[in-house]
């Protein structure tokens, strides 16, 4: 992805692929020689979380910060994350937020810090193939709910439309018109069209080749 900001906040619908996108972004930042911190702010989802990739992050010198919650003995998340000092340290930061407006509530606590920081991008990840966001209007409405809940305004759209392992070029191609419509309705630019290397259509705007890190044990490696 071009022009990655110092702070990238990743929001979206449940299961739109925020975590996989965030992991890709963090790895790319690290690969270009920059310090990167990834913050798992998902207080909603107990499985398939950013924090599951601890080993991968360690390998690439990416610092992982996650709330004390899922997979611990806490039922209520504790968000003990010094965002301001991390940003002051000069590290790039990727924040993977939980799904929908419920998940975005956790962002509210950090909203003042995020608003004050001047090199910020707040991305809204969309997936045409998610059942409740098939319609561009519904997708745009959900973005407003997330913004209201987080106390922050989104700045760009990430078209992450996919059918998981069944994604082919046509799958992504069929989502381009949808992404354009969401972009118009939201009044925001498309910052990236994500696809695995062999599924990226030539005409995709802002193509961003990603890898599938979030997978089940029986997926073909």
């Amino acid at each position: 992805m071009k022009n990655i900001r110092k702070l990238t906040v990743v929001t979206g619908h449940y299961g739109s692929g925020k975590t996989n996108f965030s992991v890709n972004l963090a790895l790319d930042i690290a690969a270009s020689g920059n310090r990167c911190t990834i913050i798992d702010l998902d207080i909603v989802n107990p499985y398939f979380r950013t924090a599951d990739f601890g080993e991968l992050f360690k390998e690439h010198d990416i610092e992982l910060l996650n709330p004390v919650y899922a997979n611990t003995n806490l039922d209520i998340p504790s968000l003990n994350i010094p965002l301001q000092s991390i940003l002051q340290s000069g590290s790039y930061v990727v924040i993977d937020v939980g799904g929908d407006d419920e998940g975005a509530k956790a962002l509210g606590r950090f909203a003042p810090t995020i608003r004050e920081f001047d090199d910020t991008e707040i991305l809204y990840v969309i997936n045409k193939y998610r059942y409740l966001t098939k319609d561009p209007e519904d997708t745009a409405v959900l973005m407003r709910e997330i913004q209201y809940s987080a106390g922050l305004l989104c700045t760009g759209i990430v078209n992450n439309s996919s059918l998981g392992t069944e994604t082919v070029t046509q799958t992504v191609r069929d989502s381009l018109g949808y992404a354009d419509e969401v972009s118009v309705k939201a009044g925001l630019p498309i910052r990236a069209t994500c696809a695995v290397a062999d599924a990226m259509p030539d005409e995709a705007p802002e193509p961003y080749i990603i890898h599938r890190y979030v997978r089940t044990l029986w997926d073909n490696q």
Partner: protein, 355 residues
């Protein structure tokens, strides 16, 4: 079939319920099945249905009891500890011969256990959950599409036999995402029109219908139960389902259900690549247990391996089903730990599958 969507297992269960005409959902949140309730809270009002978050699991299952008595399709969902709380209500519903669907997305136990996937409630679910002589139908899907299809099937079987039907999943199935398709048919909410037994208002046109599970005269209770068991015999004869892969020439048949069956299938695929004659058998109905299908699948096998996310529960039903005609071994992980295909393959090799 309409175009495919990417859905979480829990969402597919919920959407499928709506499409089966489930008009009322009564639930209470618990990880890892809360998305079912969250999803229905958004969707139910849009299609003219009822979503109600009860004050507890006990309240929710008793709301299902009442609603089912009126002949309307209804459902509740929970995860392991919540199902324990519902056990009394499930027994009452079975004792009153009422149809309903219950979803159990299993997590680690006992007690509060953990929030990671588990299959340690096999005994609980397949042996009726609550007190008394009775059975409930148990379907165990292994993909998100099959989870959706199982809900439809569960409602149909529940109505057909007037008894509770369970769709049994685990946290892994509930949380993972896969493409799923629903047919384009319009959603039609159920009513009691084909249920002459329903207590939905007699309108001075017929006798009262009474919903009850209390029989103080022992011979009368015995007779009621025996009639019920005639239905169970019919179910055991007609409603078993299973999937067998590479079992015809298999020397080792690996038996597993739900998400574990996919892990086992991966291991069996690997074994075949190594020239090991392994087969995979997946019971789709856990009650009725597919005994005939299993006996057919193991007819050329020297050994049977059962794999579960538990300390070994279905393994007993496997031994009973084949009458211990072959050695049955077990491999399992528990407490929320998922058995990896490589571990299962190692066990297949250890059992003599090494070429």
């Amino acid at each position: 079939m309409a175009e495919k969507s990417l859905m979480k297992g829990n969402e597919a269960l919920a959407e499928a319920a709506l499409r089966a005409g489930c008009k009322c959902f009564f639930g209470y949140p618990i990880t890892p099945q809360t998305e079912i309730a969250a999803y229905l809270s958004k969707r139910m009002p849009k299609v003219g249905g009822v979503f109600l978050q009860a004050e507890s699991e006990v309240a929710a299952i008793n709301m299902v009891y009442g609603c089912a008595g009126s002949g309307i399709r209804c459902m509740t969902s929970s995860s392991s500890p919540g199902i324990s709380l519902k056990s009394e209500g499930i027994s009452y519903i079975a004792g009153a011969d009422l149809p309903c669907v219950i979803i159990d997305v299993m997590r680690g136990g006992p007690g509060l256990g953990g929030i990671q996937p588990s299959q340690a409630d096999y005994y609980q679910i397949t042996k009726g959950v609550g007190h008394g002589d009775y059975n409930i139908i148990v379907l165990a899907p292994s993909t998100v599409q099959e989870m959706a299809d199982s809900v439809t099937k569960a409602f149909d079987l529940a109505d057909k036999y007037r008894m509770p039907a369970v769709v049994l999943a685990d946290g892994l199935l509930g949380q993972m995402m896969e493409p799923v398709a629903f047919d384009d048919a319009e959603i039609v909410m159920s009513d009691a029109s084909k249920k002459p037994w329903a207590a939905n208002g007699h309108g001075n046109k017929r006798e009262h219908n009474i919903i009850n599970s209390l029989y103080l005269q022992a011979p009368e209770l015995e007779k009621t139960i025996k009639v019920r068991y005639e239905r169970y015999a019919e179910i055991e004869k007609n409603e078993t389902m299973a999937v067998a892969d590479y079992c015809d020439d298999a020397e080792i048949v690996v038996v597993a259900y739900g998400s574990t069956a996919r892990l086992a299938k991966s291991a069996v695929d690997e074994a075949r690549k190594l020239g090991i004659k392994a087969g995979a058998f997946r019971p789709v109905t856990l009650y009725p247990f597919p005994k005939n299908e299993l006996n057919e699948a193991v007819k050329n096998a020297k050994k049977v391996l059962v794999v579960e996310m538990s300390m070994g529960q279905m393994v007993d039903d496997v031994k009973l089903a084949i009458n211990c005609s072959r050695p049955v071994e077990f491999y399992g992980r528990t407490g929320g730990v998922i058995p990896a295909p490589a571990e299962i393959l190692a066990k297949i090799k250890e059992m003599g599958g090494e070429k």
